[in-house]
């Protein structure tokens, strides 16, 4: 198929960016979206131009490196999928495709389509851990049975890949889905109880400091999350947060 690409190009964080048009032809419908960009980049390099920079690594939908706002949607038109798992069969011959970086104040652009998501890391440093030493001198793994329902919900929350689509999808650029997934995972497990109150307070405060917006319950985050993280996690985090503040 032949496509018209409109891609955000920006030399570095300080430079001004703009949309640049590229025509591309002979794209197979079996290609992944990133393989289509590989084809474009090969052509650009052969012409002596700079290739389009974008984040990617595992290309199997789990590392969370890839991002891209494709035709206005994080990770493109196919639900429940990351850009690296989006295939060109979801597009038609002659389509125009607008490709931009995820847009949020807390995710500054590094170059072209690459953004800086270190704000996510800093929120995690604030409390996304259980303070247990890695000595292995803990109790036997089966000493504390965990209700299967809670264990499964904790797993579902923990399957967040940290890509930032929730922030990109939100009109307020809120990171509530991301933060609440981590808070929920630990709140649902007995191991997470000791630091439960401190964790939610510290992580929420760091989230605010990073410049993420507030949550207004529109649910765009859940709709665009490639891993189907549920907004019930946000409700749980709100409950945790209020509970924690009442006690302190």
């Amino acid at each position: 198929m032949d496509l018209k690409l409109k891609i955000w190009r920006q030399k570095n964080a300080a430079a001004k960016g703009k949309i640049v048009d590229y025509d591309i032809s002979a794209i197979s419908s079996d290609m992944s979206f990133l393989e289509m960009l590989d084809v474009l980049n090969r052509k650009l390099i052969e012409k002596g131009d700079e290739p389009v920079s974008f984040d990617h690594d595992c290309r199997e939908g789990i590392c969370g490196s890839c991002s891209l706002q494709i035709n206005g949607r994080p990770h493109g038109p196919d639900g429940g999928t990351t850009t690296c798992q989006l295939h060109m069969r979801k597009f038609k011959d002659g389509d125009s495709i607008v490709i931009e970086p995820f847009r949020a104040k807390a995710f500054p652009i590094v170059k072209d389509l690459i953004i800086d998501r270190s704000a996510f890391d800093r929120v995690q440093h604030a409390g996304a851990f259980i303070s247990v030493n890695t000595s292995g001198n803990t109790q036997d793994a089966n000493a504390t049975p965990i209700n299967k329902g809670n264990a499964d919900h904790a797993f579902d929350a923990a399957s967040c890949i940290g890509c930032g689509a929730c922030v990109a999808a939100c009109k307020n650029a809120s990171a509530m889905l991301f933060v609440s997934a981590k808070v929920s995972q630990y709140a649902l497990l007995p191991q997470g109880q000791v630091e439960r109150e401190m964790r939610v307070t510290d992580m929420v405060s760091q989230m605010d400091e990073e410049g993420f917006g507030a949550c207004t319950n529109t649910g765009a985050c859940e709709a665009e999350c490639p891993k189907g993280i549920s907004i019930t996690n946000i409700a749980r985090m709100n409950r945790e947060f209020i509970g924690s503040n009442l006690k302190s």
Binding site: K11, N12, S28, D30, S32, L34, E35, D38, V39, R42, I45, E46, G48, E50, P51, S53, H56, D57, C58, R59, E60, G61, I62, C63, G64, S65, T81, Q85, H87, V110, K111, D116, R117, S118, F120, D121, Q124, H125, A128, F129, I130, V132, T134, S135, G136, T138, Q139, A141, P145, K148, A151, D152, A154, F155, A158, S159, I161, Q185, Y186, Q191
Partner: protein
Amino acid sequence: MKIGANFPAKTPEGPIEDKWTSYKNKIDLVNPANKRLIDIIVVGTGLAGGSAAASLAELGYNIKAFCFQDSPRRAHSIAAQGGINASKNYMGDGDSDYRLFYDTVKGGDYRAREENVYRLAEVSGNIIDQCVAQGVPFARDYGGLLDNRSFGGVLVSRTFYAKGQTGQQLLLGAYSAMNRQIARGKIKMYNRHEMMDLVIVDGKARGIIAKNLITGELERHSAHAVVIASGGYGNVFYLSTNAMGSNVSAAWKIHRKGAWFANPCFTQIHPTCIPVSGDHQSKLTLMSESLRNDGRIWVPAKEEDVKAIRSGALKPTAIAEADRDYFLERRYPAFGNLVPRDVASRAAKERCDAGFGVNATGEAVYLDFAAAVIRYGKEKALVTHQDANNEVLVLKLGREIIATKYGNLFQMYEKIVDENPYETPMMIYPAVHYTMGGVWVDYDLMTTIPGCYAIGEANFSEHGANRLGASALMQGLADGYFVLPYTIGNYLAKDIRTGTIPVDTPEFAAAEKGVREQLERFINNKGSKPVDYFHKKLGKIMWNKVGMSRNGKDLKEAVEEIQNIRDEFYKEVKVPGDLEGFNEELAKAGRVADFLELGELFAKDALNREESCGGHFREEHQTAEGEAKRNKAFQYVAAWEHNGAPKDANLHKEMLDYKYIEVKERSYK
């Protein structure tokens, strides 16, 4: 020359069950106040590097951790699917440390060091305790206890899992332990930094030159020890299940500086991956081995059915049971679909080479869940008091169970192939997945460079010539959480009075100059072909001549062809952009330059090894039934010492002695 002459493996004395304990009792310790005076660099933040960085920081050392990704959480360990082994014997099916040790040595076709493997089995149970304490949400049963499943090459259920995302959950556990130490200031994290070279001062590893991938600046970082945890080199094949950025460079740089590289030809070709769809393909996707618990592998038994399938005239579901060849069950009745990976891969290749491949290119076999769906569906109908003879209901219930076990894998398959694996069998074919070879290390996990360690997939490790499923995660975490934190102290105890290592020295300047010159050479090269052109070309040679089965003639050709591509690469490669700023093509050029050297050593090692064992299959050395035929004369670790070009590398042999396991013909029949 034998390794013993210069570099003893330093395995402790005594009975094998006591070695690790008595070793720990005798090593030198570093007092807590002195740990604050010691810096350690960790390169790579996967399961091995992440767990090591966190554990060493907890002990009190100052850690500088480096990863090329934008966050430590993105290391490729995250993509591991199936599970992690541990000899907990929670299932009561007769498991023990000894059995895990035995299975691992046998699975590795008797090419691993006994002492290291026993230690691995011994600490495996601790890993599970540790991860649960960290909040890793493993799969549980309705009683709230941990669930286990089976993996290939063993007769017990010892694999702990978190759906098809075990690697993700374990890595995020290690990442959380790192986060705790980053918050305390004990780990200084350098994201988007690539190690460009090792710096050696007075014969000891004392630092690295790193490149900030955002600004392009070269940085000097010093430390009292350097830990390489940069993963495997499967991307030498261009197409593999590794991430796009996975590379050999950190390991190769230390090899060039004196660390021996062991058994490069021991590479794992995983049997269940999604087949290649075309020339545009950038990577391959694994379908977890756990699928072989419930999936049955087959091809049509009749050639006319193969033709009809390829032309689209026949659907696989329309082929009668009697006309299917479940070739693993036929050849290996005892282990069936759960034979080890090397055996399963070769058996699939054998059927495809014989003309029974089921896709357009003839390079695919079926992995079929129909029988499991019905089995699970009937069981569920019975326990929920519904009609177990209602086929529609049974199908529905069975598919639900399969979805809870493997849902994310089925979804991934459907996205990539555009077929629904609940309704039609998956198509799979072997692909490069893991490298057992790597940097040679002694019992302390130290390389032949004092103060330079290699852990996880980066070292040549405990898997011998073939790794069993769910053992990579086990080894990565064992090295990082429980082994290195002890062994490194034994070395650093002598460094408590050294003080901070300065970076304004001739050694750092010389290393930085070398790095800068290579980068300038790429940027100023007047070539016309992108880096990928050469990488793909290398990959084709590796796959065709150094892949699943090898012979002397092809290997000799491969060595020569790789040398030619390397020359062409330096003449013809085109790297756009400049030294400053983010430049992915420049980073790729450096990595491919190293793959072009490793590839040659890999072929040379395969040529040297005149036997078949594990993942290394030499066509000249097979039994009448087409199975791998070992040669006692090659019961050694081949450790290569850099000496200019790969063709001039010197071979050192670490002879392997089996005192606790009888070396036998590996049989899964």
